[in-house]
């Protein structure tokens, strides 16, 4: 199929690569939105969920007799209904243990905030009042919140039948690790950790579920970000055909991964909908519910040992990581597996041993969050490099130059069998040093240090891993209707990610249409093509989504050209299409509008003299040839991790593109309070060609801001009883614009050979840099104390203690 596409004429680029103003903005900024909350429909009942106050307890009794009598309460659901209507929630990555978790707790509660019962009432306020009339008896059990304690034999068990809390173990060994350690001039050890955090989308999970008991159709209007997974999973959980699931996704107020697997929220609404056929069952998760049970990252603790030569060359490293995935199998194991994906970062290190544990605890279940385990492995590798540089008293830029994979070594095969597509890591760092005025900055730092100020520079260079895997194919339909306007329907929903603008740019250029003639429709499973992977995740838009759009647009152009040639009585090779007009290259006055082509091909297809191709609609599902080839190559050699998909068997995780970044920051530490001020921040990255520079800049700024938040303040703090302290934005600290510095950005471009537009991904990657950059900068600022940082966030008290202890 791929070979059949021939687009001989040079494609015009009027829009791709320009900062076309976002087509989404006017509607959003004027409040004409279709978030689930905005949808007001008749016959609606509102859901409130009773949640466990305990981190770990046996569920002795859930008595709903009182609440059923309350005026305004229409229906109630408990764990018994979950057993009757639904299957356990399916795990994504781990297949070794049977899932025992239902959307409503059955025998035990395993984290504070786990759903126990749900009420549907005539108003949301009444529904919340009604929860107080549900009588629950708990027998509190000792919880386990520390993942290392959870690994011990005498730990309380999150799932008794598993016999262990350690649900995943990966081991990989590549090269000659022992031999390399013997040759080392220095061997260093380092312990590093990342807290549990979240990107906290502005809009939490929401759904309106409606069940038609005559047709058997289940309609879900939701803000889920992976329609493919929803279609596969909800149909499985409820044992209904997927073509009876009508999933409609309108506006999404941010996702970041936390809306990829909203199984509990969607299932609870669905159970109530099935008990109330014809009613619209509306559930809007509130902020505290979202923070305590909507999903958090897996916590990470890693012990690293690294071997290096005096000249800074890293010979080998080994590390053992423990990943705290909370109280659920649903996403457990995926954070750990991502470590294999970027195991040696942008460095040529061939001797590596990796020993990785996935552990369950009585904390909130893990969910994907902007990069999943990639921030973790970047943090491990980059903190390790920094440690070696410090020990050898080597410039942190210099040690990186000495270990980089070189630009002529692509495609580069990593020890764990991932194949990097392209890049120029030395050029990216070199440009970052130039843009930041690194040499001058060092002098400035030294001058300020002499004045007694604690000023430091942090540098980091790393790989993102983007554009999803080539197997995660997407579907798209592009149609020019009989009046000449184009519609785009994709399985990949926009969640604030500017999909519509980017699709408009691609279709405008490739088909040759005015942007105003193109509309991108929201996802609707009855009208939009979808695959099991359909969705917005893993920087996937820049990969399969764009490839499908390019393919479909090229095929559509072919139809336009064929029909235009017939109408203009010339050959297809003589046709150019631009701004919704097709014309003869040799005689530009010989032209026809796309509107007239549409009219002719739909209304009078057989009156046109010559061969035409009726109808102007193309659906494409798949990926491009070079991406598929690269995937096949990876598939043969990849080790370390496979994902057990909800769809069946395991599958490799090699990414389609591997962008890279260099971050440079200048910070100051207040000696007395430990407060960190960021004085300057620079990002230079290589994400290949760019579709829309302004949108990329927005993604970059947002990513860095979130990364700074994680580095300095965000933390889901639990006490020893498993009670979440940070359960609202009063205690889960997000940075404001006042804490985020101006960010200076610049670019190096090495187009990805696996992308037909030469692009790479941008959504996740810039969040990783600040985690490392801030640590490195703090250690530089506190060099007079020899202070070493090991865990995030870098709270003022933690910094102050480092100074006091020195």
């Amino acid at each position: 199929m791929v070979e059949q596409i021939q687009v001989t004429q040079e494609e015009r680029r009027n829009y791709i690569g320009t900062s076309l103003r976002r087509v989404e903005d006017k509607r959003l900024l004027t409040g004409n939105t279709n978030f689930v909350e905005d949808l007001r429909v008749a016959d609606t009942v509102f859901v409130a969920i009773l949640r466990s106050p305990y981190a770990h307890a046996r569920l002795l009794k859930v008595d709903v007799s009182r609440v059923r009598k309350m005026e305004g309460v229409i229906e109630v659901a408990t764990g018994d209904d979950a057993l009757k209507y639904s299957q356990p929630l399916p795990p994504y990555a781990i297949s070794k243990f049977p899932s025992e978790e239902y959307c409503l707790a059955t025998k035990k509660v395993r984290y504070m905030g786990e759903p126990v019962a749900a009420v549907a009432a005539i108003s949301p306020e009444l529904a919340e009042d009604a929860l107080e009339l549900i009588d629950v008896e708990y027998e509190p059990l000792k919880p386990v919140v520390d993942p290392e304690s959870a690994m011990s034999k005498d730990s309380p068990l999150v799932y008794d039948s598993f016999g262990t809390n350690v649900v995943g173990h990966n081991h990989g060994k590549w090269g000659d690790v022992e031999g390399a350690f013997k040759q080392a001039d220095v061997v260093l050890k380092k312990r590093v950790g990342l807290q549990r955090y979240s990107s906290t989308p502005l809009e939490s999970v929401s759904v309106i579920a409606t069940y038609d008991d005559i047709s058997g159709e289940l309609t879900l209007k939701s803000n889920a970000q992976m329609p493919g997974h929803v279609m596969m999973t909800i149909s499985k959980i409820f044992g209904i055909p997927s073509n009876s699931v009508h999933l409609i996704i309108n506006d999404i107020g941010g996702g970041f991964g936390l809306k990829t697997r909203p199984w509990r929220q969607l299932s609870i609404a669905t159970i109530l909908a099935m008990k109330l056929p014809g009613m619209n069952v509306k559930y809007l998760e509130d902020r505290t519910e979202h923070l305590s049970s909507g999903g958090q990252t897996a916590g990470l603790m890693a012990d690293i040992e690294v071997a290096a030569k005096k000249d800074g060359k890293i010979l080998a490293f080994r590390f053992r990581d423990i990943n705290n995935d909370g109280a659920s199998l649903t996403y457990a194991g995926t954070y750990a597996s991502m470590h294999a994906t970027l195991i040696s970062g942008c460095y040529k290190i061939n001797n590596i041993e990796w020993d990785s544990y996935t552990v369950l605890t009585n904390e909130c279940p893990s969910m994907p969050n902007r990069g999943v385990g990639k921030p973790g492995i970047v943090y491990i590798v980059e903190r390790m490099i920094e440690t070696v540089a410090q020990e050898l008293k080597m410039d942190p830029a210099e040690i990186r130059f000495r270990n980089f994979i070189q630009p002529d070594e692509f495609p580069y095969v990593t020890p764990s069998g991932r194949i990097y597509d392209s890049g120029n890591y030395p050029a990216v760092l070199k440009k970052a040093l130039e843009v930041s005025g690194y040499e001058e900055m060092k002098k400035e730092r030294d001058r300020l240090k002499e004045q007694g100020r604690l000023v430091g520079i942090g540098i980091t260079t790393y790989i993102h891993g983007a554009s999803a895997t080539a197997r995660e194919i997407e579907g798209i339909t592009i149609n020019i209707d009989p009046r000449g306007t184009a519609s785009v329907r994709s399985g990949s929903p926009d969640m604030g990610t500017s999909h519509s603008t980017a699709f408009v740019q691609i279709v405008s250029d490739i088909v040759g249409m005015k942007p105003d003639d193109i509309r991108v429709h929201p996802f609707d499973s009855y009208y939009s093509p979808w695959t099991p992977f359909s969705g917005t995740h893993a920087n996937k838009f820049s990969g399969p989504d764009v490839e499908a759009a390019v393919m479909a647009a090229k095929l559509l152009r072919q139809k336009v050209v064929t029909n235009a040639a017939a109408m203009l009585k010339t050959g297809p090779e003589d046709i150019e299409v631009s701004e919704s007009v097709a014309f003869s290259k040799t005689n530009p006055e010989n032209k026809v509008t796309i509107q007239d082509i549409a009219k002719a091909t739909y209304q009078n297809p057989y009156l046109v003299p010559g061969k035409i191709d009726p109808g102007l609609e193309v659906t494409w599902i798949g990926n491009n040839e070079s991406a598929v080839k690269a995937f096949d190559a990876t598939k043969e050699i990849e080790t370390g991790a496979t994902h057990q998909l909800v769809t069946g068997s395991g599958s490799p995780t090699g990414y389609m593109t591997y962008p890279n970044s260099a971050h440079v920051a200048l910070i100051e530490v207040d000696r007395e309070t430990g407060i960190i001020s960021i004085l300057k921040y620079f990002v230079v990255h290589d994400i290949g060609n760019v579709i829309n520079p302004q949108i990329v800049q927005g993604q970059l700024h947002g990513g860095v801001a979130h990364g700074i938040g994680v580095a300095l303040m965000e933390d889901f703090v639990y006490d020893e009883d498993g009670q979440l302290i940070a359960s609202s934005f009063a205690n889960y600290l997000k940075p404001t614009t006042m804490e985020i510095p101006n960010i200076v950005d610049d670019h190096v471009v090495t187009p990805s050979p696996r992308s037909s537009l030469g692009i790479k991904g941008i959504g996740e990657g810039e969040t990783f840099g600040p985690l490392v950059t801030m640590c490195n900068a703090v250690e530089d600022a506190l060099s007079e104390y020899g202070a070493k940082v090991s865990t995030l966030p870098l709270t003022p008290e933690k910094i102050r203690n480092l100074i006091n202890r020195a």
Binding site: D129, T288, E672, G674, I725, A730, N731, E739, T795, R800
Partner: protein, 293 residues
């Protein structure tokens, strides 16, 4: 996230409001700007059967000068206090304190009276009021009385108000020539609850000897508290970096903060608290020397 059901009243004057509070004694609460009350109601951390909204009572938001004092109506918003030219000129500490409270939206809704009556130990107003030795006027249908700042904060979230009493205004002395004030607030992010804070009001004579010292502390005790030790250490002394450092050191004795898993341990707060007393005093001294505020 909805409050439990409550009855809602909009009295026209303090007398009516006070009657309602008396009638529903123990089950009622005054609502002014709602910036603290509404969140705790929504989180169902507390509940009241009766909510008496006084925000519609006329004449309770005026800011005026009278006989060496500035009177601020209880319903004046933080933003109005911050923007008042009179306060900026004659009681700069109040203006600066207002600018540190919450964000723009909170400052546009929240009121000085509401903030004080909430009596949160991490509240900013209490420290400024203590530092300036201000008073509050409270009224009920039985009449009015005045309470000194020192006597107003009984315990965390517990002001010295009778069940039917409503705070109607705040009075601040004008310290005049050779005086200055400042509020130093340590916050994890702009507009956040104070990790800790120190409000300072100074007045010196022509020889730079301290004639008045007022120091109020935020998040360093069970309520906003006065640092008597630091005040004593400085009063009658010449204002110098050394005398300030000594006073700040002694302020530690007055602090008894709580551990906070998010914003810092008691130990950290005490250590940095005295540093903030020092910074506030130094800033106040610099402002005196600069001849401003």
């Amino acid at each position: 996230m909805y409050p439990a059901q409550f009855q809602y009243y909009t009295p026209k004057n303090i007398g009516e409001a006070s009657e309602l509070l008396r009638k529903h004694s123990g089950e009622s609460k005054v609502l002014a700007g709602g910036m603290s009350l509404i969140p705790v109601l929504k989180l169902r951390l507390t509940r009241f059967e009766h909510i008496v909204d006084i925000s519609g009572i006329k004449g309770l938001a005026d800011i005026s000068e009278e006989k060496g004092h500035i009177r601020i109506g209880a319903l004046a918003t933080h933003g109005e206090v911050e923007a008042s030219g009179l306060i900026r000129k004659k009681a700069f500490l109040m203006s600066e304190t207002a600018s540190h409270i919450g964000d723009e939206q909170v400052r546009n809704m929240g009121t000085i009276g509401g903030g004080l009556c909430h009596a949160d130990p991490s509240g900013d107003w209490g420290s400024a009021l203590i530092a300036m030795r201000g008073t509050v006027q409270v009224s009920s249908s039985d009449g009015s009385r005045e309470i000194r700042a020192d006597d107003f904060f009984v315990d965390s979230f517990t002001p010295a108000l009778g069940e039917d009493e409503i705070l109607s205004s705040v009075t601040i002395p004008v310290y005049g020539e050779r005086s200055s004030g400042t509020y130093a607030k340590l916050e994890r992010r702009a507009g956040d609850f104070a990790v800790l804070g120190a409000a300072v009001q100074l007045k010196v004579d022509e020889q730079d000897v301290c004639k008045y010292v007022g120091i109020g502390l935020t998040s360093l005790g069970m309520t906003n508290i006065r640092s008597e030790s630091a005040e004593k250490a400085l009063i009658g002394k010449e204002l110098t970096p050394e005398s300030i450092a000594d006073a700040a050191e002694s302020s530690r004795d007055d602090m008894d903060p709580l551990d906070d898993a998010i914003r810092g341990s008691a130990e950290y707060k005490k250590e940095v608290g005295s540093e903030y007393v020092k910074r506030a005093l130094l800033e106040a001294m610099n402002r005196l020397r600069g001849g401003t505020k």
